[in-house]
């Protein structure tokens, strides 16, 4: 495949996996949790790097899951101590992120990790770093990671589709019929973490929040059915990622930035023209 082909494929995978995961973030009203996790994942990656001193997929995933779960756990814990939920979230993620940045600046600064890269992502470097897979041949490492994460996300969601649905819409009912709500919460946080880690290389820590939340929020304006929302959100994610790439190529600017910007455009269109909840329909 061509250089551009790989980039577009990678971008589309980011859009798809973030779009699907994001639906549940919106429905569970945990959008800011994505913001928190996307920041703290940096700490996980840095620690994984400091321990193994190599930048490789599996270690980064483990570090990311660890950091994501730590964030979710600390927020939950502070909440149980009666700290306002959003205040607890703010304290936890800024602290963990700050520690991550300090670690990079003080000890890992000369290595492959740098803050710039982690925060903004650099999708143009992705095709250079390949691994050889049987049958398919040389494939960029980040693309393989993203594909694997997408498969994990899709399997986890389809296997327990009904449970996800109930815990998202009515946690009290879910608890009363014996679904382990808290366990599901932590499993979901792990899914968010691995999606974030895998998207890190391509779009960076903050733009991944745009990819996670915005397509899902746009889809939420179009439909009331969960499976439609999942499909739409995935499609919106892919559309924003690919158009974002071309916009960036056209005006020669940051790819991840313009992908985030395109999710905003998609949302804006939905916000105005959506047949169910759009502004125009409300005024007419």
């Amino acid at each position: 495949m061509t250089y551009t082909g790989w980039i577009i494929l990678t971008a589309a995978l980011v859009g798809l996996s973030c779009g699907i995961t994001g639906v549940f973030l919106i429905l569970r009203k945990q959008a800011m949790m994505a913001d928190a996790i996307s920041h703290t994942v940096l700490l996980g990656i840095v620690i994984a790097f400091l321990i193994t001193s190599e930048v490789s997929g599996p270690y980064m995933l483990i570090g990311g899951i660890f950091a994501g779960l730590l964030t979710a756990f600390l927020v939950q814990w502070l909440n149980s101590l009666k700290v306002q939920q959003d205040a607890g979230l703010g304290i936890v993620f800024t602290t963990l992120f700050a520690i991550g940045v300090i670690l990079i600046a003080t000890s890992a600064g000369n290595a492959h990790l740098d803050i710039q890269h982690a925060l903004m992502g650099e999708i143009t470097f992705i095709p250079f770093n390949t691994v050889t897979l049987p049958i398919i041949g040389d494939v960029p490492q980040a693309t393989v990671l993203l594909a694997a994460v997408l498969i994990i996300v899709v399997i986890t969601i389809t296997l327990f589709y009904k449970e996800w649905k109930i815990t998202s819409f009515d946690p009290a009912l879910a608890a009363s019929i014996g679904i382990p709500v808290l366990l599901m919460h932590y499993v979901f946080m792990s899914l968010v973490s691995i999606t974030t880690v895998a998207s890190f290389d391509a779009v960076g820590a903050i733009m991944v929040v745009a990819m996670l939340i915005t397509p899902a929020a746009s889809a939420y304006l179009w439909t009331d059915k969960l499976h439609n929302m999942l499909l739409l959100s995935g499609a919106f994610g892919v559309i924003s990622a690919i158009t974002g790439y071309y916009v960036a190529a056209w005006i020669d600017t940051s790819i991840s930035g313009s992908m985030a910007f395109m999710t905003g455009i998609v949302f804006f269109i939905s916000f105005i023209f959506s047949p169910k909840h759009g502004l125009i329909v409300k005024y007419v």
């Binding site: 703010g90 903050i206 985030a260």
Partner: protein, 306 residues
């Protein structure tokens, strides 16, 4: 170590981050009681495109102009969050997450355009993202000081009005305070604090300056007045100590160190705080257990004697 403190530039920077911490700690208490802790996060991220556009327009790094640009774009962000939340079924935290990441994305797009057009001479602009107080020059420091002092002044001059407005809006209306006016004033000083903090702490970590000291102060008092004073003190300490530590290393970012110092203050407050601190709660629990046991004992003894 002493030589760093005696360096006159460091002294200025220390002073400005300290005052910034005081201002942020003060406003943070109001944001805490308005339950708008993460709003500051959204606002600071959405300030980025404004900073870059201001830079692109004037082609130089004049802090005052950049602050105006930042303030305009943060206010647009605040307005959009409000609009999306009130006129669609998107919840407030989703709206905040969207606006902050989209605005940040736009900022990054513009930043890479600015990098190109300015021929790489924009190193000062990058600092806005992570915060590097050491990069500030004296005129920046003075701009920051004046604005921060203005914010602190506005809070303290109308302290009683703020208090009534926060805790009893009905009463405030009754005595003829304009709630809308107060809210506009509150948003403007919040945005001012955020945008002057961006230079020192960076857009990503600015939220911590507002949230952490306020929550820490809550563990020591029930009085709003003392909470504000404590929070301002914690903020000031975090600003000064964090800046000092970051000055020890070569090119260490200021923001993260300030945040970590603030977090240490938070953990200490959480553990040892007088109000609902973990230790105090544990002791109270033990005491209750003891008295309950004693009561039970006397009760059973009394029954046996009968």
């Amino acid at each position: 170590m002493l030589s760093i403190l005696l360096n006159s530039n460091t002294q200025w920077v220390l002073l400005s981050t300290m005052i910034l911490g005081v201002a942020a700690g003060t406003i943070g208490c109001m944001a805490y009681w308005k339950r708008q802790n993460l709003m500051s996060d959204a606002l600071s991220h959405s300030a980025l495109p404004g900073v870059v556009i201001a830079f692109l327009l004037i082609q130089e790094k004049n802090l005052f102009i950049l602050i105006i640009g930042a303030a305009i774009s943060a206010l647009i962000g605040a307005f959009l969050i409000q609009w999306i939340t009130t006129s669609s079924r998107i919840s407030e935290d989703s709206a905040m997450g969207m606006i902050l990441s989209i605005f940040y994305g736009m900022g990054i797009m513009l930043l890479s355009i600015a990098n190109r057009s300015a021929g790489g001479n924009q190193s000062g602009l990058d600092k806005f993202i992570y915060g590097q107080a050491a990069a500030m020059v004296k005129s920046d420091v003075i701009t920051m000081l004046i604005l921060a002092l203005l914010v602190i002044f506005i809070v303290f001059i109308a302290f009683k009005e703020w208090k009534i407005n926060l805790f009893d809006p009905q009463f405030a209306k009754g005595i003829g305070l304009s709630i809308k006016g107060m809210n506009i004033l509150y948003t403007s000083i919040l945005v001012t604090t955020i945008v002057i903090g961006i230079q020192a702490v960076g857009v990503i970590l600015m939220a911590a300056m507002l949230v952490t000291p306020a929550v820490s102060a809550r563990y020591w008092t029930r009085s709003f007045k003392i909470m504000i004073l404590l929070s301002a003190t914690f903020g000031g300490i975090a600003g000064a100590v964090g800046t000092f530590i970051s000055a020890l290393g070569n090119g260490w970012p200021t923001g993260p160190f300030i945040v970590v110092v603030a977090s240490v203050v938070f953990v200490v407050s959480l553990l040892f705080g007088k109000e609902n601190g973990i230790l105090i709660k544990h002791l109270q629990f033990k005491m209750h257990q003891k008295t309950a046991k004693l009561n039970l004992q006397t009760l059973t003894e009394g029954l046996e004697n009968k």
